[in-house]
């Protein structure tokens, strides 16, 4: 379908829509449950608690260094499931397409969805397509819902961090947000940097084999700062970070310094923050470093007894500063 674009008829429920599904969507995402004409997918779930989540994806540009909106949509939802210790099993895929969107691009996005779903070991079992008039959306928006199962014995919750726990992240902060910013070409920046967009479920499995993890969060929008504030608030314990241990690439720091942004507030899409009991910290850290997505893992701070939501940063020189909850989008500033 090279050169062809989405028209309003593709969303009309008639023959054009069936053609789009038959010629474009199904060949790329050919799950048996998806291609049936049923109104709902039915499946058996293995034993354990069911984890269920949903997320919508809006990104500009749709293709960015290190990923695209399709990869993002799968990784985002799989990662949300992984953060509660669930093994992801099924995804739904909702597409909102803008009239005039190139079918070639849609195919690229769907190929990406298929590829990353396969790698995550999840099936895309249900979907929906809507078309909106030109100007009412920005190319394509995607919603994915995900179902997974938490094996017995796992008890991971954002409220599970306890004083004494060690906080670990699996690598450099802010790569996704800055890669996308550079990809937008708005501020004339050049930087050789890929988004960290990745599937974290494999890494989480190896962590949980190595030891007990109390709390996890993927620091996406709002960056690590938001994840820490949320964990501290939910767990009713304070957090102390060590400034020098916060891993930020030189290029990311450079862009942040230039535009007046704070890397702690920049989005990640392949990072996790974990609170691990002190006893298991070394083992979990070692397991993480042995995983492809955790080679740069490090301990960045501790959970301490103190007020819920209080996150302080201890600097090289001793004194502390309090971390604020990010409010709204980070914008370039002069002051």
């Amino acid at each position: 379908m090279a050169g062809e674009v989405i028209t309003m008829a593709h969303g009309g429920g008639g023959t054009r829509m069936l053609e789009l599904l038959r010629d474009t969507v199904f060949p790329l995402l050919g799950d048996a449950a998806l291609v049936t004409a049923e109104d709902a997918a039915t499946f058996e779930l293995p034993g354990g608690r069911v984890a269920f989540t949903t997320d919508s994806f809006v990104v500009k540009p749709l293709l960015f260094p290190g990923g695209d909106i399709g990869k993002l949509a799968v990784c985002g939802t799989v990662n949300d499931l992984a953060m509660v210790g669930a093994r992801p099993l099924f995804l739904t895929l909702g597409l909102i397409l803008e009239e005039g969107f190139e079918i070639r691009l849609l195919e690229r996005v769907l190929r990406s969805v298929a590829e990353w779903a396969r790698r995550a070991g999840v099936r895309v079992v249900a979907g929906d397509t809507k078309v909106v008039e030109r100007g009412m959306a920005d190319g394509v928006y995607i919603n994915t819902s995900g179902v997974g199962v938490v094996p017995g014995g796992r008890n991971i919750s954002i409220s599970g961090a306890a004083p004494g726990d060690v906080l670990i992240v699996n690598g450099y902060l802010g790569d996704h947000g800055i890669a996308v910013l550079v990809g937008r070409e708005e501020y004339g920046l050049e930087l050789d940097l890929e988004s960290d967009c990745a599937l974290l479920n494999g890494l989480v499995e190896s962590m949980l084999e190595a030891g007990e993890v109390h709390a996890m969060r993927d620091p996406t929008r709002g960056g690590l700062a938001a994840a820490l504030k949320e964990m501290s608030a939910a767990s009713a314990a304070a957090i102390e970070l060590t400034e020098e241990e916060l891993p930020v690439r030189e290029g990311v720091r450079g862009v942040c310094e230039m535009l007046g942004l704070d890397p702690l507030f920049i989005a990640n899409e392949g990072k996790l923050l974990a609170a691990v009991g002190e006893r298991d910290a070394e083992a979990v850290l070692e397991a993480m470093r042995g995983h492809q997505l955790g080679a740069d893992s490090r301990i960045i701070g501790r959970v301490v007894s103190g007020k819920a939501g209080r996150v302080s940063v201890v600097t090289e020189l001793g004194p502390k500063r309090l971390l604020r909850m990010p409010s709204g989008e980070q914008l370039p500033r002069i002051c």
């Binding site: 600097t315 500063r321 002069i334 002051c335």
Partner: protein
């Protein structure tokens, strides 16, 4: 040579803190630069120097001191048909009488956040049908970049780029502060980047007229501590202007930047949020550039709310934030009234955060 981390030397910090302790006495110094405020807060410099040195934050953030009236004007201009307002990101959340620029965007105003005024020029080049208005905010550091952009626009005969100039200048504000009754600050920590433009000679009136010392300095912890130590020394040796930021600041400043400013702008009286109208502290477009002046456009402004904000007194160190009737009630970081709350590192915003966290 790398210039980012090289000046962050922990050993030097410890030596300087020890030196300041040994110097003794009690001192209140004011820093008048938002980036200093930020650096002092991030590095935790205040607790290092307590209780002998009290560092207070003056009106050093050009965004925060933009008056609600000027924000109202920017919003009204942004809502005019055919207008795209280009602004630095800092300005989006600063409140006017009826909300901020961010609120205006929700109501349909066209506003684009830019990193440089050159992006506004580029927008004007690319869309000749749009009236691109740049919201000119900033001290002497920023004003020359805007002046250079306007000169470029004139050279290219771009007729759809306009400027709303709310630029302000630092020396008139320092003079106004120093002239206040009850002004009891023992020295100024002067801004590094404003000084890079205007030069250290621009401040000689401070020791001459007010008898207090001042130090121009950079933004590393060591820079700021060095400035504090020098101020204490000058309180006994006699007041002067010292330049600790000699790597970027010369006595006469940057002549090219000063000349660009002089071609484009002329001083006018300007209102500082939370303070008052300071004579000669604003920069307006000169007669030659009237065609570019969006400030001359007719817009309807909302009736101005009466404010009882006491930021002026807080900025001068006369009262602490809880003594202001608005603090933590009408005025919070989410819906700030005065400049001390607008800036996330402002005196009131910091105070609010710490009270919330520590109670």
């Amino acid at each position: 040579m790398k210039y980012l981390d090289d000046f962050r030397v922990p050993g030097a910090v410890r030596t300087l803190v020890r030196r300041i302790r040994e110097q003794g006495g009690e001192h209140t110094f004011m820093e008048v630069c938002g980036t200093h405020t930020m650096a002092i807060s991030r590095a935790g410099i205040r607790p290092m120097l307590e209780p002998s040195v009290d560092l207070i934050s003056g009106p050093g953030c050009p965004v925060c001191v933009t008056s609600d009236r000027d924000i109202d004007t920017a919003i009204a201009v942004a809502k005019l048909p055919g207008v795209v307002l280009a602004t630095f990101g800092d300005m989006m959340k600063v409140p006017g009488t009826e909300g901020s620029l961010a609120d205006a965007v929700s109501e349909g105003a066209r506003v684009r956040v830019v990193y440089s005024p050159l992006e506004a020029l580029q927008m004007a080049r690319e869309d000749r049908g749009a009236k691109v208005v740049f919201l000119g905010v900033g001290f002497e550091t920023t004003a020359p970049t805007v002046a250079a952009t306007m000169l470029q626009a004139r050279e290219e005969n771009i007729q759809n780029l306009f400027l709303l100039s709310f630029h302000k200048t630092v020396p008139p504000a320092l003079r106004a502060l120093g002239s206040l009754d009850e002004f009891s600050v023992d020295g100024f920590v002067l801004p590094g980047h404003v000084s890079a433009i205007i030069g250290s000679d621009a401040y000689t009136f401070i020791p001459d007229e007010f008898g207090i010392p001042c130090v121009i300095t950079g933004f590393e912890t060591t820079d700021i501590l060095q400035a504090v130590s020098n101020l204490i020394r000058m309180r006994t040796e006699g007041p002067a202007v010292e330049n600790e930021y000699s790597r970027a600041v010369r006595a006469g400043g940057n002549p090219k930047a000063l000349s660009a400013m002089e071609i484009v702008f002329e001083p006018v009286d300007a209102e500082w949020r939370g303070l008052f109208v300071i004579p000669g502290s604003g920069l307006a477009l000169k007669e030659d550039f009237r065609d570019f002046d969006a400030g001359a456009w007719q817009v309807e402004l909302p009736e101005r709310a009466i404010s009882g904000c006491r930021c002026g007194e807080i900025l001068c160190g006369r009262i602490k934030p809880p003594e202001c009737p608005f603090f933590a009630g009408e005025c919070t970081p989410e819906s700030p009234v005065g400049p001390c709350m607008v800036s996330s590192e402002g005196t009131c915003a910091s105070y609010y955060l710490y009270c919330q966290e520590e109670e």
